[in-house]
Structures are given as structure tokens and as C-alpha cells.
Symmetry: none
DNA sequence: TCTTATTTGTGCGTATGTATC
DNA sequence: TGATACATACGCACAAATAAG
């Protein structure tokens, strides 16, 4: 799942994978993405790595984190699309 | 924000900047300094560098780390002034 | 209110590889 | 060779918010 030989670091690969799921509608707006524990299990990486991957998506405005709840896909209404 | 040309290494500059905020009262005793993530964003340096900067302030007794909470400005009451 | 479970937030310590001075 | 810095990654401990009972 994660290619540790290539030039793309794991945290970027994970960010890309999650972004693809969001873009494809697999994880629609308002929905939660898998928890860090589940992602740990799925990708076989440390939380630190997931934290960085999530940070990338947060930076892009694709997701938002809520302590005690999870990480949610930002809805178009909430998206900073300039309006 | 960080001068990478001068003789003062970034971790020292950051330590100085934080020390100034504490001295000026911008971050009063008992208050938390920005998290490492926020400082990463603000200064544009690696976590490794931030941790060294914080270590300087800890060495000076200006701040204390509380696990799971953050890094706090030491209160005069708690200062190791010999009491 | 308290306990239990889940989930994110925050920092510590450590390690590897690369690069500059 | 050493200090400094960046990028990446793993494992660990503890705190806070949320949810359910």
C-alpha cells in the first residue's frame, strides 16, 4: 500500500490516497474519514506520519479536525472557495 | 522573521523571540506558548529546531513542559529562585 | 457526577539521511 | 569532524473533548 522505495514519502502517499477518496466521493462532504487508529492499521504507519498527512489536507482546506470526534470532510458550504 | 544570513542560528533567534514575548508580558506567567505545530507554521522551521529553541528557555527556567498539555511560562511563584 | 471508550492534541526521546558551514 | 538545520519516521505518555451508559 505504501511504497517506501520511491521518492514520495509515506505521509504524502497517504495524503494523496485520502484526497482521492474525497474527490471520488467515496468519503462525501460532512462525513468522517477513518480514525487515526484505523488509518494506522490500514497504512501501517505511525501516528506521527498520519498527523502530517492530515495536516496536508487541513492545509488544503479539505478536512477539519474535531477533538473527541474525528476528522471530517469539509462541505462545499464551508469551503473557502472565495465566498 | 528568521535571518538565515546572520551569525545567530535560527534556534537562538527563536529562543530570543519567545523570551522577548515573555519578558514583554505578551505571554504572561502561567500561560501557554504556541504549540510546536503553530510555531512551525509561524517561524517556518523544523520541529527539531523548535525543540532546541525551547530547550534553551527551559534551561533558563523560563518555561516548563507539561506532558499532554503544552509548554508554559513559569510563574514567579514557581520560579526556582531558591525557595 | 462518574466511568468507560473513542478520538484528536501535544510534547518527548530517538533514529536515519542529506546538506551547509 | 563537529555544529547546525531540514525532512522524514517510529514508539511512547499524558491531556482534553466528545459520546454513551
Amino acid at each position: 500500500m505504501i511504497d517506501r522505495e520511491g521518492p514520495v514519502p509515506p505521509y504524502r502517499q497517504i495524503a494523496n490516497a485520502l484526497r482521492a477518496r474525497i474527490a471520488s466521493g467515496e468519503i462525501p462532504p460532512g462525513r468522517r474519514i477513518p480514525s487515526l487508529v484505523e488509518l494506522e492499521d490500514e497504512f501501517g504507519v505511525a501516528r506521527d506520519t498520519l498527523r502530517k498527512a492530515v495536516q496536508v489536507l487541513k492545509d488544503e482546506g479539505l478536512v477539519e479536525t474535531v477533538t473527541g470526534m474525528g476528522i471530517y470532510v469539509v462541505q462545499p458550504d464551508n469551503a473557502p472557495s472565495g465566498g
